[in-house]
């Protein structure tokens, strides 16, 4: 017998936790190999951020910046970070849906492994890719003339953004586990991605929006994350924003970790 515990015994709670950790590392190993073999995914994960950075700065920058009386690039870059992380979460959704449609996950479900590991491996690998993508976006921003207040601030901003993206990755995984067809997942992402992205303080301050939109645009997760990241970049970290962003991230994890695992496990 090659199993670590005798086959006639049900695994104990300790076994389960150990296996979950061990299997997550295994799946992370697998997903990192896959990530390394698909460098185009890194390109896709930064392309939206790069577009927004370049277009918004050079197309809308003059109009928005002069109206608000600020340097628009300084306002824009932290928002673009958060958008990039959101795009990474959308890639988790697409990637996991592809996995599900290819049938390799059916083999995973027939194996004596922790099922949360299948999703955790992917979301962690995607967070690592996101981190690289964010560094690339930050380098481009520097070239365009953006200035961080300090290196520590920049690192903290990128780490917080990665954490928020990790929370959204689990939301993306839950959608993929429910819907399963990659093209459908792609269509659906328009419905959650764009409202969160555009009705937020990522690109414009909330006080420039109509009154009925302001409460949503101020407190939705992308906005609080953008505000928190902006504070870190500028050297004026606001603890309320950071706590709200962390709260949203934890909230996403609390809801979508169990939900995505349940949807994945029950799928035919």
């Amino acid at each position: 017998m090659i199993t670590t515990a005798p086959a006639h015994l049900a695994p104990s709670a300790r076994d389960r936790i150990r296996w979950a950790a061990q299997d997550t590392l295994t799946m992370l190993w697998r997903d990192m190999i896959r990530t390394a073999r698909q460098p185009e995914l890194l390109v896709f994960s930064v392309v939206m951020g790069v577009f927004f950075l370049v277009l918004f700065n050079y197309v809308f920058g003059g109009a928005i910046g002069s109206g608000a009386g600020v340097d628009y690039l300084q306002f824009l870059v932290p928002g673009v970070f958060v958008i990039t992380a959101l795009q990474g979460a959308q890639q988790t959704s697409m990637g996991f849906a592809t996995d599900l449609s290819e049938g390799v996950t059916d083999r995973f479900r027939s194996l004596p492994m922790s099922q949360v590991a299948v999703i955790a491996g992917r979301t962690i690998a995607d967070a690592a890719r996101n981190l690289v993508g964010l560094v690339l976006v930050a380098l481009l921003a520097l070239v365009m003339g953006y200035r961080f207040d300090s290196a520590q601030g920049a690192i903290a901003a990128i780490l917080l953004t990665t954490a928020v993206g990790f929370g959204f990755s689990w939301l993306g995984a839950a959608i993929a586990a429910k819907v399963r067809q990659p093209d459908m997942v792609g269509m659906l992402s328009m419905f959650w991605l764009f409202p969160l992205m555009l009705a937020s303080t990522a690109f414009t301050p909330a006080d420039s929006m109509p009154g009925w939109l302001q409460p949503f645009a101020t407190y939705q997760p992308i906005s609080v994350a953008a505000d928190a990241v902006r504070g870190l970049c500028e050297g004026t970290p606001a603890s309320t924003d950071i706590i709200l962003a962390a709260g949203w991230t934890i909230g996403l994890l609390v809801v979508f970790v169990p939900l995505s695992v349940r949807l994945y496990r029950n799928g035919a």
């Binding site: 090659i2 296996w19 697998r30 190999i33 896959r34 073999r37 059916d106 083999r107 194996l111």
Partner: protein
């Protein structure tokens, strides 16, 4: 479990998807070293049975055990003892064969020191040396199927589930899969094999369950199933369509006659042996039908399937080679 050799056992296994009956009251059993063939056309419910037995979908009614463990109540124990390959499972396309095997070996919790030896063993045994370090997305159908079966064997399963393992394979790859199945059974693995190829079930299975629209229509050894149909078949080949038309006219009234225009072949059930055969051949000759070839043979599973389901094996023929 009274019979400690019974590895895969189901009783009244049932699964409905809405109004669709995917499996109804399927009862089967496979012992150590035995190959159980689940035979049926596309959509007969074969994959549904495999998915229930491998814990992929819940069972609606009835029960199933693998190596004595209840599939519904002890799925984790069951997962440690089974291997799954074929239509119902896949490999990671972006990974090489070695990486795929390593992935599954780790997930089966094979100790590190055994892992590499086991992977080398499987690469050698399934002759994957030439492509084991290329991504699976570059493989031919036969290569991918070899990896697929090797992946199911990583942890030496007691019960192996092969879901249409040769569908879409060329004859050579098919023969390789057949050899592997025979070797594994000889080594004591209980194997449940689904197939829509009658000759495959005939070749490999010790016991056959014929299913159609989720229901068992016959069960037994290949010999028993053939005996159940009972009659010998006179198989006549004619050189062209004119001869076939003449033969068809002459024999249309005989019960159970089967005409295959593509092969220009007439299959005629024979109830009274040589005398009747000679009589039929003489009549054909008198009518002026040229006969290329004829033989009196035992019924094949094709004949069995026709007799049992009342319809020719059309769903099978369409997708066949």
């Amino acid at each position: 479990m009274s019979d400690s050799n019974a590895m895969i056992v189901t009783n009244g296994l049932t699964k409905h998807f809405g109004d669709v009956v995917a499996a109804e009251d399927v009862t089967l059993s496979a012992r150590r070293g035995e190959v159980l063939g689940l035979l049926g056309p596309n959509g007969a419910g074969k994959t549904t049975v495999v998915k229930m037995l491998t814990t992929l979908i819940p069972i609606d009614r009835g029960n199933a055990t693998v190596a004595g463990f209840d599939v519904d109540r002890n799925p984790e124990q069951v997962r440690r003892l089974i291997g799954l390959a074929g239509q119902a499972a896949a490999v990671d396309e972006k990974l090489t064969a070695r990486e795929n095997l390593e992935l599954f070996a780790r997930l089966y919790k094979l100790p590190r020191q055994r892992r590499h030896a086991r992977i080398d063993e499987l690469v050698e045994r399934f002759d994957m040396g030439t492509f084991a370090d290329r991504a699976a997305s570059t493989y031919s159908g036969g290569q991918r199927r070899r990896l697929d079966i090797a992946a199911a064997l990583v942890a030496d399963p007691l019960a192996l589930f092969l879901d249409e393992p040769t569908t879409g394979l060329d004859p050579r790859s098919r023969a390789e899969v057949w050899n592997s199945v025979r070797e594994l059974a000889a080594a004591g693995t209980a194997i449940l094999l689904t197939t829509q190829y009658l000759d495959e079930a005939d070749q490999l299975a010790d016991q056959i369950l014929v299913i159609d629209q989720g229901r068992t229509v016959a069960a037994g050894t290949p010999e028993q199933l053939k005996a159940e149909v009972g009659r010998d078949v006179l198989e006549i080949h004619v050189p062209d369509d004119t001869d076939l038309a003449l033969a068809q006219n002459l024999l249309a009234s005989v019960a159970g006659v089967l005409i295959d225009p593509d092969r220009r072949q007439v299959d005629l059930p024979i109830t009274s042996g040589a005398a009747q055969s000679l009589d039929v051949l003489r009549q054909l000759d008198d009518t002026g039908v040229t006969i290329d070839d004829f033989q009196l043979r035992r019924p094949t599973l094709d004949d069995v399937f026709l007799a049992l389901t009342g319809s020719p094996t059309t769903p099978t023929e369409e997708v066949r080679r």
